[in-house]
Subunit: 119 residues, 2 copies
């Protein structure tokens, strides 16, 4: 069946959450948002492209930092309201220079930092 | 530093997206939503608990199906607006009986089913 991005479920801002996972290690790197055109751009270019809610513009991940995400596989879930992209990540995914944005855990009620910034 | 769930960023419905990942295989299983109390219940009980938007009630994952998610690690991202739980998943995570909700890929413009329901 041919994929039609307009068949996905977008929220009232026209956005859908997109999880980025390292294709090789399986590590969950980040979560950001896409709109219908960001999905099309991602699929056509092979460069993962989000919609920046703060800047209200397309955000080709790594365009300014060089920390690009090369698309390996594009998936969506059973409810069609969430996207999972597996990617080849260059450098850190997080703007704090950490490999993943999920670097803080809660253990025994305390915040624990799991990884340091890459140097 | 002590964790305070009220320091996370919830949307205008009081919700935050939560990604569930298999702690052993690294597979991304599903994405659902939590509110502040669902987070507290998850941390206190060790059973991953979401907020069901459709039913407007707490949803202890697996409570009726038996497909529970035992919490292994609770993490949040740099922006404090997304949660990642790593879990020990009993049975399929998806209501379609598939291991993961992300069983459809888009390849060469077509939808491809990646896994069959568990039997």
């Amino acid at each position: 069946m041919q994929f039609d991005a307009s068949g996905l479920k977008f929220d009232d801002r026209g956005l859908i959450p997109a999880i980025a996972q390292d294709a090789e290690s399986g590590e969950v790197l980040m979560m950001a948002w896409m709109n219908e055109e960001a999905i099309q751009r991602t699929l056509e270019s092979g460069k993962v492209t989000y919609w920046s809610r703060s800047r209200q513009s397309f955000w080709v991940k790594g365009e300014s930092s060089g920390h690009v995400q090369e698309l390996v596989d594009f998936r969506f879930d059973c409810d069609k309201d969430c996207i999972l992209v597996t990617v080849r990540q260059t450098g850190p995914a997080c703007h704090t220079n950490r490999r993943s944005c999920f670097y803080t855990a809660v253990r025994d009620g305390n915040e624990v930092e799991l990884m340091a910034p890459m140097v």
